[in-house]
């Protein structure tokens, strides 16, 4: 990570022209090297009466890391964030910040900042006052407060807005004020709860870039909660995927995509999602195949070995949309159900004889298909093999 030597009001001229997004004054942000702390949950369980929101969760964001918590709504990711912040208390387990156990530390003393989905700006205070608010609580002297606010405001292009009230700001501006209020405190970690979900699509892409930019230029730990797998894949250094309060996988975006720990992760990450097909292992034509509705899928040697070792009859295979292609000699018969043109590529949904939909990804130059048209497809890419009972990944085989 390239962090500028912080705590200086001089402008680092070598980076001044680097980006129009988060501008030159970032170098002057009051974030010292080494301020970032690791954040860890160890064996955390959180129950509300009979409902268990989080079950035995262990994960750690390393100091300076951008870690994304990803999962569908209600999976416990926001609860995990609130547990770190101290807004909730775990039923059991340990929360650590910078290696120190903080279970018994009040939220205000944990020294973490949170950016809320609603931004939670104080409506009666001006932008400047909002940014200053946490400093007042910590009795920072007025002159220092003014300087910090000015520096942070400049770095986030808010200096023209300091006297406005939140109601007079656009969504993107509010978002930046919320960010400024978090940054000005020099916290050990930033907790972000779906901070971009209230923005329109275009702004979201821009803010995504700004956040990543911010993170690469200053030394901060970010714990970022989202249900949007695109955000997770594009922003996170590592992704923790949760489902029903249980951690499914914690790894880099590439690893999560290439080796999803189980069928849930495989189906959640990637758009269109991975096609999960259930079938029987059959030996035909001197090879081992998986018989699926509409045809069969071939298995590469490592997968054959895995199936034979476990003596599997039932088999679950996963194929990314790019691992399937149209082929007149393909092994699977299907009918075109839906064609989505997404700029540079098209996503085609095909219906298998049993009724299941599978997605394939094709270049936009490929001829457009008619709905209802009968086609044949072939597995031309990576095949993932999952345990039919647990859904866990057994092996990934290349064609």
């Amino acid at each position: 990570m390239t962090s500028p030597p912080g705590n200086s009001t001089e402008i680092d001229s070598s980076r001044a022209d680097f980006t129009p997004v988060t501008d030159k004054a970032l170098a002057a942000l009051p974030l010292e090297r080494g301020a970032a702390s690791s954040v860890a949950l160890e064996g955390i369980t959180k129950s509300y009466g009979p409902v268990t929101a989080i079950r035995d969760l262990t994960l750690e964001a390393r100091a300076g890391e951008f870690l994304v918590l990803l999962g569908p709504s209600g999976c416990g990711k926001t609860t995990a964030l609130r547990l770190v912040a101290g807004l909730e208390d775990p039923t059991s387990g340990t929360v650590r910040i910078g290696g120190r156990v903080v279970n018994d530390v009040d939220a205000k003393d944990r020294d973490v900042a949170m950016v809320f989905q609603s931004y939670a700006l104080y409506p009666h205070l001006s932008v400047g006052r909002n940014i200053e608010f946490p400093l007042r609580a910590r009795q920072v002297p007025a002159s220092q407060r003014r300087q910090l606010v000015a520096t942070v405001a400049e770095s986030l292009r808010l200096e023209q807005l300091l006297d406005r009230k939140p109601a007079q700001l656009s969504g993107g501006q509010r978002q930046r004020v919320a960010l400024a209020r978090a940054i000005v405190r020099r916290p050990r970690a930033f907790l972000m709860d779906e901070p971009l979900s209230n923005l329109d699509a275009q702004l979201r892409v821009q803010m995504r870039a700004e956040l990543v930019e911010l993170h690469t230029r200053v030394d901060i730990t970010i714990l970022y909660v989202t249900h949007d797998q695109v955000e997770a894949m594009t922003m996170g250094q590592r992704i923790a995927i949760l489902n029903e309060g249980v951690l499914q996988q914690l790894d880099t975006p590439e690893a999560v995509y290439r080796r999803p720990a189980n069928a849930f992760v495989a189906g959640f990450v990637g758009s269109p999602p991975m096609n999960i097909l259930r079938g029987r292992a059959v030996a035909e034509d001197d090879a081992l195949w998986v018989a699926v509705p509409g045809g069969r899928v071939g298995l590469s040697p490592p997968l054959v070995r895995a199936v034979e070792d476990r003596a599997l009859r039932e088999v679950v295979v996963g194929l990314r949309p790019e691992a399937l292609s149209l082929d007149p000699n393909g092994t699977i018969a299907a009918a075109v159900s839906l064609v989505e043109l997404v700029g540079h590529e098209q996503h085609v949904a095909l219906r298998l004889p049993g009724g299941q939909l599978v997605w394939i990804r094709m270049g936009s130059e490929a001829p457009r298909m008619r709905t209802g048209q009968d086609v044949r497809i072939a597995a031309t890419g990576t095949v993932h093999l999952f345990d039919p009972q647990t859904g866990n990944l057994i092996e990934v085989g290349n064609e």
Binding site: E42, G43, D89, P90, S92, G93, T94, V101, N103, D104
Partner: protein, 308 residues
Amino acid sequence: MGARHRARGAHARQRPQSRPLRKAGAAYLFVLPALVAFGVFVFYPLVKTAYLGFFTSPPAPNLPSHYVGLTQYRAVLSSSDFLDSLWRTVQFVLYTVPAGIVLGIGLAMLANQRLAGIRIFRTIYSSTVATSAAVAAVIFFTLLNPQVGLLSYWLGRKGGSGVLQSSSLALPAVSVVTIWQNIGFTFILMSAALQSVPDDLLEAARVDGASSWLRFRSVTIPLLSPMIFFTTIVGVIGGFQSFGQIDILTQGGPNNHTLLLIYDLYQQAFKYDNTGYAAVLSVALFGILLLLTFMQFWFFQRRVFYAR
């Protein structure tokens, strides 16, 4: 490693109790002042009053009270004294509430016109909201005085017996004073309600050819009806609690003709030391007001519901 892990687990298990407990402690601290006040000055005396109703007061001070159970409740509540003062209170409410509301609506309609200087009239009509029962009573006490009172003079009763000394006119007179004192309050409420009647509804009715009376009857009144209901209940409750004007104007006289329930209660308790009797009256008053408050609360909640 294993031992360390276990130790940490134990640690984690005992900790979460302490923070929530501390938080709950803060919460109780926040509600405590109000709760103590309610306990000492609302709930305890309420129960105690009901309890006092089980004892008859001794004929002379310092003699023991007698426990008589529900007998006293039965006796007092069926006594003609009680029924008379209850009936007078009902009369008082019937004199004051409907007239007050009609006047309030009338003034609100008058002051809701777009005319030059209408603000002055609004201010005048709402002015009596600043007068307490005592202020109103003292003003009228003098104005109705048979020797020097201007109203007595104009009513042609100068020198003779005063209005407040007349057994047939005393209660109506007290009612008029009460209506006057409440008119500002009713006017303000009705004006607020009237201003929330959307203009386009009235205009639509006008375009439809409805006469002004029909517009008033079929658009304005229905839209005012929640506020009318509200004001009625508040007025009835206020009527049962009217004390100051009685105390200053008539002290329940002449000949008990303005002896309302609440004034009877006050005299029994603090003039005649008839604690048991007064306690029963208190409970009766509580029961009546409870019923009215329930009606009002039910209405208020519904209104809050719809407003949100």
